[in-house]
Amino acid sequence: MIEIIKCKINGRDQEIAIDPRESLTDMLRNKLGLTSVKKGCEVGECGACTVLIDGKSYNSCIYLASWAKDKSIITVEGLTSENGELSPVQKAFIDESAVQCGFCTPGLLLTATEIVNSGQKYTREELRTLISGHLCRCTGYENILNAVEKALNQEN
């Protein structure tokens, strides 16, 4: 069973042969080599596989590849500018030491990007709710919240 879908991945138009049963995670990792999309549970519990679909964050492990048809998808590989410059969210994660083992990092970077791109202000407590779909076992979320706050304050 093969289905061809067209979609935009990290700003580039793509035509991809997929198995209609496969998850978006598997499509991104296996067909396009976008290995920043991590697999932590494959049932939508941990948030490690989060990508942006038309600007909104989704667990790509419970999102069928076929639903990505005509959508625009951003992974962490697409956050860096063409000349290799880091996005403000990426910079904030480095500056605030929000990265340890790095496995939850890509997903959090994308949710944080969605938050920053919203143009809205949020309190720290509201941010706690907004990132609560991501599990992290290394940081206790302290520096992650600091990083999201920093990126948010810089941009908005």
Partner: protein, 759 residues
């Protein structure tokens, strides 16, 4: 000077750009997929396995069962090997097992072209068991038939020690004391690394290569050699970035099975990745323990004697075995000193539960919960100041463990306590909260800890480092010690820069370990690397620096080069003689005397030193809901010199988060009849989300420890240790109820509150 500076993590850029590769990101196209069949009984024997239907599924390559594997038992603990057979870890499992010892034991493996096919084929395997009654509790196991023939009553080991030369009972004679007694229970919990264990194996150049998510690549190499009965040099283990370990990956997990399957298929590349659900049951867990403490205290608050009895639930296989409860038991005297006698007895018991192994703190969170909750109970019953009671009895600087000689070379515990107490205004609040009414109450609590650095003299401590000078005056650093998220690569880079005089930006550390390339190190555990491996980096750096100086002197036909700073070779007056890059280039391409400058050093470590610290916490509890909210929490650590404050803080945050959950929410639950886990997934098992996590404070009291390479001592594991008892003690302060079992779930809190008539 780079030591003590907040240099950004060397791996941060790659990790925020998605360039950091983990094992599963490197799997070659066309790799076959292996999936393990797990037993659906907890105790019994596999009588027969019918794989015929599974083998007929298109895309299935092969099915191996417990009847096909070599008749070799092997150990899995991430301990250095010992050439003395008496010190060997227990070898008690085969690649697949006919004798089933826990619900989920490994009995067969399917290899297929893809994951879906492998998973479907698993369902078609038919197994016939001879079933025995599951022995899930320590009591049942000690009264049941042996799971391992060599261990009657399922006692893996039972040990006693005594300090003082007289027994607890004898110590009571001629002493006017009060006796206090408590029984504590701590749960089975799981590491919940974000990256599930996974590996892939293939054969190349006559070797088996295994790429795996592990904390201990060199130990994995040895154990694969043992499990497959092949020379260790024929095994090559590569460890890329890993998504956390916390001790579960300080065991050899499925790497030997993965290697064997590849070998059986002529060296084809095969991947074996666990699902999250397997991660809970089929890796390792933290030991559940029952701890009984009896203490005799004089009127002035001095501990005269204590008697501690511990039982540790090992699960089905030995893994780290008795060493975890032993690690815990030896802390009894490293935290408080009894005036006359300390009597400790500790027993490890096999049961039909998932296998317990190393987990951040290695038994010390368990015993510290009991010791520190007990101390609080004693203070309350004696109407004694809880901080004073600790101060009177805790070990002081210069303490040397009477049994294993581990010293507290530097000890800023007193200072840690005062900083923590001041942060909360603890003494005043503790009094104020002691008499409250109503269903919303507040409480403050504290706890202290002692934690050794590495495992000397209990086990071998050894580490190696290699440095290579590049043409441009930069260096490559290779260590066997592993980066597992804690920031090891960053602090080693700082150390190398500090010692060689070559600036930090020119120090390139090889992050991936490859046992064919990176020198030996036992790996990431026991909060040892910054200390033990740090010494290796220091020694190697000094050697490399001397070689650069020697070559500079050769070039200058003099003996004036004595030091390197900021990439310049200096004379004794600090004048710049030559740039390191010039020395490097000449050393490579000199027409008469080319010399490729490199250094390698092993540090055989024969020192240890104890880290100390505290947690102070303020909580609010809603008695009607049984819900605890953390209002303020601080850890204060005496870990000697802090190499990189920001990465150190990161360690403390994560450790405290784990400690908070140990106190309040985490417990792996089992069906008491079958031994099957009720909540072995991230939905049912409650690790903290950002909504459950309070803001966390931390301070360091830095004092240079003379035994550390840069004055540093253990930090990786300790932050977890004192958190749970501090929270428990805060709840005691709020309610006056002794909660002697964790986690403090709403149900547990509510039931006692109701029993005591508080609501």
């Amino acid at each position: 000077m780079t030591i003590g500076k907040n240099i950004p993590r060397v791996d941060a850029f790659d990790k925020v750009t998605g360039r950091a590769k983990y094992a599963d990101d490197l799997v070659p196209t066309g790799t076959l997929i292996a999936k393990v069949l797990h037993s659906t009984i907890a105790n019994g024997l596999v009588k027969k396995i019918d794989t015929s239907k599974a083998k007929q599924v298109p895309g299935v390559i092969e099915v191996f069962t417990c009847f096909d594997v070599p008749d070799i038992v092997f150990p899995t603990a991430g301990h250095p090997w010992s050439t003395n057979i008496a010190n060997h870890d227990i070898a008690d499992r085969k690649l697949l097992n006919t004798r089933v010892r826990y619900y989920g034991d490994d009995i067969a493996v399917v290899v297929a072209e893809n994951e879906l096919t492998a998973t479907e084929a698993l369902k078609l395997i038919e197994v016939e068991y001879e079933e025995y009654t599951p022995l899930l509790t320590i009591e049942d196991a000690m009264n049941g038939d042996a799971l391992h023939e060599e261990y009657p009553n399922n006692i893996l080991a039972s040990t006693k020690y005594n300090v003082g030369g007289v027994s607890f009972e004898e110590a009571l004679e001629n002493n006017d004391v009060k006796i206090f007694e408590d029984e504590f229970e701590v749960p089975t919990v799981q590491h919940c690394f974000m990256e599930n264990p996974n590996s892939y194996a293939y054969m190349e150049s006559g070797k088996i290569v295994v790429v795996t998510s592990t904390q201990i690549p060199h130990i994995v190499r040895r154990v694969i050699g043992q499990a497959l009965d092949i020379p260790w040099g024929q095994v090559r283990v590569i460890k890329p970035y890993i998504g956390g370990g916390f001790g579960a990956k300080q065991d050899v997990l499925y790497e030997p099975l993965n290697a064997w399957v590849s070998k059986m298929l002529g060296g084809k590349c095969v991947k074996l990745e666990l699902t999250r659900e397997e991660g809970f049951i089929n890796t390792r867990v933290r030991h559940a323990m029952k701890i009984h403490i009896k203490s005799a205290v004089s009127e002035n608050g001095r501990l005269i004697a204590r008697k501690v009895k511990m039982f540790s639930n090992q699960g089905g296989y030995a893994s780290h075995g008795h060493s975890v409860v032993a690690g815990a038991a030896h802390v009894v005297k490293q935290l408080y000193q009894d005036e006359v006698a300390t009597d400790v007895e500790f027993t490890t018991v096999f049961t039909n539960l998932p296998v317990a192994g190393a987990m951040r703190g290695y038994g010390v969170p368990q015993i510290t919960f009991a010791l520190e909750a007990h101390m609080e109970n004693v203070a309350k019953e004696m109407n004694f100041d809880n901080i004073e009671l600790r101060k009177i009895n805790m070990i002081k600087e210069g303490f040397v463990d009477p049994l294993n000689s581990i010293p507290s070379l530097t000890n800023e515990l007193d200072q840690c306590i005062e900083i923590g107490a001041k942060h909360l205004n603890f003494r005043e609040k503790h009094k104020k909260y002691s008499n409250q009414e109503g269903h919303i109450r507040k409480g403050v609590g504290c706890a202290i800890f002692s934690y050794k650095t590495g495992v000397y003299p209990i086990s071998l401590e050894t580490a190696s480092c290699r440095m290579i000078l590049n043409q441009d005056g930069s260096i490559q650093v290779q260590v066997g010690a592993t980066e597992i998220g804690q920031g090891a690569d960053t602090v080693f880079t700082q150390m190398a820069a500090e010692i060689t005089g070559i600036t930090y930006d020119k120090v390139y550390i090889m992050s991936a370990q490859d046992t064919d390339v990176t020198p030996y190190d036992s790996g990431a555990y026991a909060s040892r690397q910054t200390y033990v491996s740090g010494h290796a980096v220091k020694k190697c750096g000094l050697e490399l620096k001397q070689k650069i100086l020697d070559y500079a002197n050769y070039l200058k036909e003099s003996e004036i080069a004595v030091d390197i700073k900021e990439n310049h070779v200096l004379d004794k007056d600090g004048n710049k003689i030559i740039h390191v890059s010039e020395v490097a280039l000449e050393s490579f391409y000199h027409r008469e005397n080319s010399k490729h400058i490199a250094a390698e050093a092993t540090h055989h470590c024969d020192t240890n030193t104890i880290s100390h610290g505290t947690t102070f916490v303020e909580i609010e509890v809603d008695l009607k809901l049984g819900l605890v909210k953390i209002l303020d929490i601080i850890n204060v650590h005496d870990s000697g010199t802090i190499i990189n404050p920001k990465t150190a803080l990161g360690q403390v945050h994560g450790g405290m988060s784990m400690g908070i959950a140990y106190a309040l929410s985490e417990e792996l639950l089992f069906n008491p009849k079958t031994g099957e886990a009720y909540n072995g997934d991230l939905l049912g098992y409650k690790i903290p989300t950002s909504l459950d996590s309070p803001d966390i404070s931390c301070k360091f009291v830095e004092k240079y420890d003379p035994s550390g390479p840069f004055g540093n001592k253990a930090l990786g594991e300790p932050p977890t240790v004192p958190v749970a008892p501090a929270i428990r003690n805060a709840l005691f302060n709020a309610t006056g109820i002794k909660y002697n079992q964790i986690p403090l779930t709403p149900e547990r809190i509510f039931n006692k509150v109701k029993d005591k008539g508080l609501i």
